[in-house]
Symmetry: C2
């Protein structure tokens, strides 16, 4: 029916959650979240990073979710538990085991997500105590606490909910900020729903939703070791949703989160939609759009409010997308600055001061369109990533 940004994972019925401070962040902020499904169903689906250095919790969750069943997921910020060797794997398993004991289930029904610095072991004494506190604080309304507890360099929480008029809902939370790139941004996403759906439906709809949302968010071209999108469906509404509406609602929630991630990308002063139309195929449109979204020169130009279409052309000139260089159009915020292979309207007709920027390219080679969302490359990005302690 509509997207609500004030509610997250507890928008769906029958999910008890918490977000607490385990002392993993030096700031003392919330850093440990727990999402527990009350059933009656425990259907689950997931999409994980394809980075070959997958973090220990990703390896654990991948195995835990292989049977399409999940009862809970525990998430921490303040440490990615990635590239931590055998001890990291032991620690991820321990996190699942403590939660399993607390709620009375099999450890293999508990997912684990971690985010933060790569290459450091988690302080397991703090994590253990934090999980006990999280278990004690579980309640059906703490979605925003959980969303806060998974933040790293995020400035704001990311939540979205789809409330169907039919009586079922989808709720979700995400964290992002840096290492936001292709085939999943660096991010943790937990999506809950009280709709009655099958595992097959969950798998198909989640994959389709990711393809048009997180896969098209490309902040800095860097793919993380910890990316995880987890969907849990408990059927608590006792309603079987219209399949089309459910798939659409799930996509809308994911697109909303993807855009929130990009708008809060590290140092972002502009949120940029790069839309390529007139392409011969979706792959062509995405390749061209991504080449622009990945150009540091283009991204610096936007930071400087400069409609530098030369850098747009130089980017798509490196792709294999079908087009005739003499037939390409480029628009910045609706102004055609390069038309049919030659300079168009003067650059000073373009106003790039608003936060949202739309760059459109027409390849005149077909009728397919696709959009990649990115942000600009600013002094803030350099500061955050030169100074972020490793």
């Amino acid at each position: 029916m509509m997207i609500n940004l004030n509610e997250g994972v507890t928008a769906a019925e029958g999910f008890w959650v918490s977000g607490v401070s385990a002392g993993l962040k030096r700031s003392g902020r919330k850093d440990l979240a727990l999402v527990v499904s009350q059933g009656p169903q425990f259907v689950a689906s997931s999409v994980f990073t394809t980075n070959r250095f997958e973090a220990a919790p990703v390896g654990w969750s991948r195995r835990a979710m292989a049977d399409g069943t999940l009862k809970a997921v525990v998430l921490n910020s303040g440490g990615a538990n990635a590239c931590t060797g055998e001890q990291g794997r032991v620690d991820a398993a321990k996190m699942a085991t403590i939660v399993a004991k607390g709620i009375g289930c099999d450890p293999m029904d508990v997912g684990v997500c971690s985010t933060g610095l790569i290459g450091t072991l988690l302080p397991m004494d703090k994590v253990t105590a934090g999980i006990y506190t999280a278990l004690e604080n579980l309640c059906p309304t703490a979605g925003s606490d959980a969303a806060e507890a998974i933040m790293t360099t995020d400035n704001v929480t990311k939540q979205a909910a789809y409330i169907s008029a039919a009586g079922w809902s989808i709720g979700a939370m995400a964290k992002g900020a840096g290492m936001l790139a292709p085939a999943l941004a660096t991010m943790l996403v937990v999506i809950t729903t009280d709709a009655e759906i099958t595992v097959e439906q969950a798998d198909a709809d989640l994959l389709a939703a990711c393809r048009v949302s997180f896969d098209r968010a490309d902040s800095d071209g860097c793919m993380s070791t910890n990316d995880s999108v987890i969907l849990m469906a408990n059927g608590a509404s006792h309603i079987t949703p219209d399949p089309e509406e459910f798939a659409q609602g799930l996509s809308q929630v994911c697109i909303s989160l993807a855009k929130q991630l990009i708008a809060d990308g590290e140092g972002a002063e502009h949120s940029i939609s790069v839309s390529v139309r007139g392409a011969a195929s979706e792959d062509d449109a995405l390749e061209a759009a991504r080449s622009i979204a990945r150009s540091n020169l283009f991204k610096c130009a936007i930071a400087g409010n400069d409609p530098n279409w030369g850098r747009v052309l130089a980017s798509i000139g490196t792709t294999t997308a079908q087009f005739d260089p003499d037939a390409v159009d480029v628009y910045f915020n609706g102004v055609g600055v390069f038309l049919q292979g030659a300079p168009g309207a003067p650059r000073d007709q373009v106003d790039l001061t608003p936060f949202d920027v739309l760059v459109e390219v027409d390849l005149h080679a077909g009728d397919i369109e696709a959009t990649i969302w990115t942000n600009d490359l600013t002094h803030g990005y350099v500061s955050e990533n030169a100074d972020y302690p490793s």
Copy 2:
């Protein structure tokens, strides 16, 4: 015999050159260069950008050099003459024609190179007058003037010469700074030699030299519309060089220029060699090294003197190179910070304050090694590219 950085294109005998101010740069600095071969031979070879939006001068030079013959090349900074449509093509042809008339040859024996802002027509009145001045100022010792006249955001001139004990020489100049990326950096390079070589030799040796030099310089992943490497051989020494020595000397000159380009990359505070060894193939080594060199997060970390090996691993984890994640080693300036898939020496043992940084990765999957040269991503880079007028 050795590489000399104080001499450029006039290190080879029989090349008359000049570098003058045509008023294309608002600063009034030199912006037009001319290199004229005195023969007796006019053998030439070239490598151009593969960007599909090739600038008008690139299209001209490609045709002019198709027969392996060139008598002169005219170069300007202060305007790339790229994406300028039909008028741009007319202007490039006119530049060649004026030079041809001045030295008495066919316009199709004159190469043209331009660099500067994309998408603006050259002020042809100033260019024409500048070419006349350049013709008047030709002399056999003005290599440094020419090198200065092709600079854009470069801070220093780039020159290199190989002086053979056998009595022949290779001289060269380059400009770079931004849009420095794969399969040729954004750059103009002119190489002269007085050795007697064949066109076939020139083609084969230049391609081989580019593969191990400019193709391995990757400053910001952006490929330009104007990249040109032009080699002119006039046989003025009347010496036929040892083929092996000539090929080696040419590669050494190109490697020297590539490293000079990277060291002077826009905003560079560190020059970084990313060396991948233990690879199963050269392609694997290059793919892994380039993925690291292209990671903005890695490049920001180096700007912050942070040996952030997590970002190195996250980068190579996205490649298809053969390796076992549990067998990889990472070294920063010789210190093994990640060994056999687990954290190694403490990060504080690494000193990243020197300008030159060496990052080594051992994939333990074979015995092939390759290096990509890049630089860090700094506030200076953002400033130059957010503020560079488009």
